[in-house]
Symmetry: C2
Subunit: 428 residues, 2 copies
């Protein structure tokens, strides 16, 4: 197999341009490693006439990514447009129907349509690879689906949205409130056009749903991911957590339980001396746990031209070398449709309550928790200036169901002046 | 390709038994992931009659691993015996000559004979995979040779001997001297029969030489690894380093420089708040740096039945899936024979000197350093009870050559009461 591998690249934003650059700059190295040349034959993007800092004149231009995907001189369709619907979906389907392999960085597309795309790709004998869709430059898809293929995966965790981690660590280091750091991140261009994708946990949830499918042999089910964003995290939460030896992270966790597949993307407390707790800024981290390997931790840049293009090229090189496997590690037709489960495993929780500053309110709240079977490990009431008394409670291990029932009862007590915040303390 | 993949396993120690267990316990999972059954057809070990806690009666027994390697009903020879010469080498060569693929955990074999074995395997169209030979359960070979295949690798670092890291972190946490912790590790069975393999840095050096070959496209050259063990590290060194915000680690570093390939395995100081600095106990860590991916850090168990067998199975599954590539990531016949270079990049160094407690000695030492162009960042003389004055110096960035020249001159000064210790402060 020494024929060139011919790529059609759709999307010439940061990642697309980064990929073109690598292929232009490292032709000899890539050919030596793959055993065959890697070539770009055609590209497409929304605007043709734009200086992208890279010479595209050697490649055919297509205005329509679907036409690109169907070209006879394209072996691999490299989808770097983004978006779960529209052009990215149409062109990916067209590529599969035209008998092309696909490399994509599009987590939204796969989170929403991954199972159907995998079924049709596998029926057509094609592969879809998506290392760049999860955790940027970290080769986590490869580690999970190939390196740990001899394990029953027991749990996968990850901090996989660099923007959220930037916001949370910056709040802590600079002592600034959420709104201010959010605005700062916006100015720096860190946020998606729709910032809910970042701070609402959606982008990271997309990634988690892909890891869960590989880890547990289940159909991608993004709709079943329990999503909580970081918008409600206050600088006080961060300080309180730090006082107790924790950091707050937007943490994805998935595990298979007796009651079904748990997929959560939510702010959690993790010990400040753990690898997850020590993760600063925009860096990503994935924690893979298996019955044999115990725990593997992977850390690296979650975004950016070089790292993401590096992940795209890892997939391209695998295809060039002839590595072929089912999209999610085993045939899509055999993937189970897992029953979704809410947080099943008991854990301690951090609760922030705003109570009316009147005699007896704290006792009422404590009684409600006790009746729901939630026992209190630590409780503090903080000094305050207004009529709301901020109360922090760390519970002993409890189920989320018991906690939710207590919070529900509390909300009817008429002593709460603010929506309570409950954050899981995850054992890492 | 749905025929079973048939394994012959040579060596039934911890890793061999762990591998047999995984294949027995996960037959369905492995077959679903590989698209074909994974079977063991034959095994061999030194002693047949021994309870290994696993049922071996389904497999043919061979006393001679060479005979095992040549069996018609073996597709993949799994070499888990260890040792760079003798049976492991003979059987691996026999397997290649008989047209078998090879999976091995044997770092010594590959460090000494990897290039020749790769040449003959590739001439015969066979693969050799060795994930388990480096950093236990961490899929670092895969990350480096596949995941980062779109990068020029700029530097690879690693803490890859769990025993040494256990000894160094235990000295620090318990405040115990080297000899005592060494004895403790010995009692716990952490040390090789020849402990120099561990504490002399040889085992970790073997691993580093394999990573260097993949990273830089060069022939494995273990003899060119600059080796320094941890035997000379005192509890004082550890305390002094901690005072300055550093930890001492047996750190492997390889990088290609203008003067040749640098491969070093030696105790180094790293910042205590870096991932490497925070690595405790027997855990391993590899740091991979590439021009596009920036930096990827991988952390996991460096030894043990489950983790090492997990790595063996990753390789077996790759072969079952039909993944085939050159042993060191590009054809062995094309690998360059790199010129070895000593530590080329300037760095600050930590120096511990024992000086005669007489007026003027410190001035003499400082003068020697100055003449060699080595400038002093910090210097301390510690309280002492005997006639030797312990002096610590942290230099500004200097070349190893300038430092060695200064140390050479000092040794002729007649004021040194002990062999000086020089540890590089590595920027991580």
């Amino acid at each position: 197999m020494t024929d060139p591998l011919r790529l059609g690249i759709a999307g010439l934003g940061t990642v697309g341009v980064g990929t073109v650059k690598i292929i232009r700059q490292k032709a000899n190295l890539l050919a030596a490693r793959a055993g065959r040349p890697i070539q770009i034959t055609a590209v497409s993007a929304r605007t043709k006439d734009k200086d992208r800092g890279v010479n595209l004149s050697d490649y055919a231009w297509e205005n329509d990514p679907v036409a690109l995907a169907q070209r006879d001189d394209v072996d691999v369709f490299v989808e770097l447009m983004g978006g779960s619907e529209g052009a990215a979906k149409d062109a990916t389907e067209a590529a599969i129907n035209a008998g092309k392999d696909v490399v994509t960085a599009n987590k939204a597309l796969l989170a929403h349509h991954g199972h159907e795309l995998a079924l049709s790709a596998e029926a057509a004998g094609r592969v879809i690879r998506f290392e760049a869709a999860v955790a940027g430059g970290i080769p986590v898809i490869k580690a999970l689906s190939e390196g740990l293929a001899g394990n029953d995966i027991t749990r996968v965790m990850g901090v996989m949205n660099g923007t959220c981690n930037y916001i949370l660590t910056r709040m802590q280091s600079a002592g600034l409130p959420y709104a201010e750091v959010f605005e700062e991140a916006n100015q720096l261009g860190y946020l998606e056009a729709d910032p809910t994708l970042d701070v609402g946990g959606i982008d990271a949830g997309h990634k988690l749903s892909l890891l869960a499918a590989i880890a547990f042999g289940t159909q991608v089910n993004f709709d079943a991911v329990e999503l909580e964003g970081i918008e409600k995290i206050t600088i006080q939460d961060i300080h309180h957590a730090a006082d107790m030896g924790y950091r707050i992270k937007l943490l994805g966790v998935c595990q298979m339980t007796g009651r079904g597949l748990e997929q959560r993307m939510s702010p959690c407390l993790v010990p400040d001396n753990s690898p997850l707790g020590q993760l600063e800024g925009g860096t990503n981290m994935c924690v893979l746990e298996g019955d044999n390997v115990e725990q593997i931790v992977l850390r690296g840049p979650g975004a950016g031209m070089g790292p993401t293009a590096s992940a795209v090229m890892g997939d391209v090189m695998d295809i060039a070398r002839g590595f072929r496997m089912p999209v999610f590690g085993r045939p899509a037709a055999e993937l189970e449709c897992a029953k979704p489960a809410r947080a099943v495993m008991p854990a301690p929780y951090y609760l922030r309550l705003g109570l009316e500053d009147k005699p007896g309110t704290l006792a009422k709240v404590a009684a409600v928790l006790g009746e729901a079977g939630v026992s209190i490990d630590r409780m503090r009431q903080y000094q305050h200036d207004d009529s709301t008394a901020p109360v922090l409670i760390v519970t002993h291990k409890t189920t989320r169901a018991a906690l939710d029932s207590a919070l529900e009862t509390m909300s009817r007590l008429d002593v709460m002046t603010a929506e309570p915040v409950a954050l899981r303390i995850e054992s890492v």
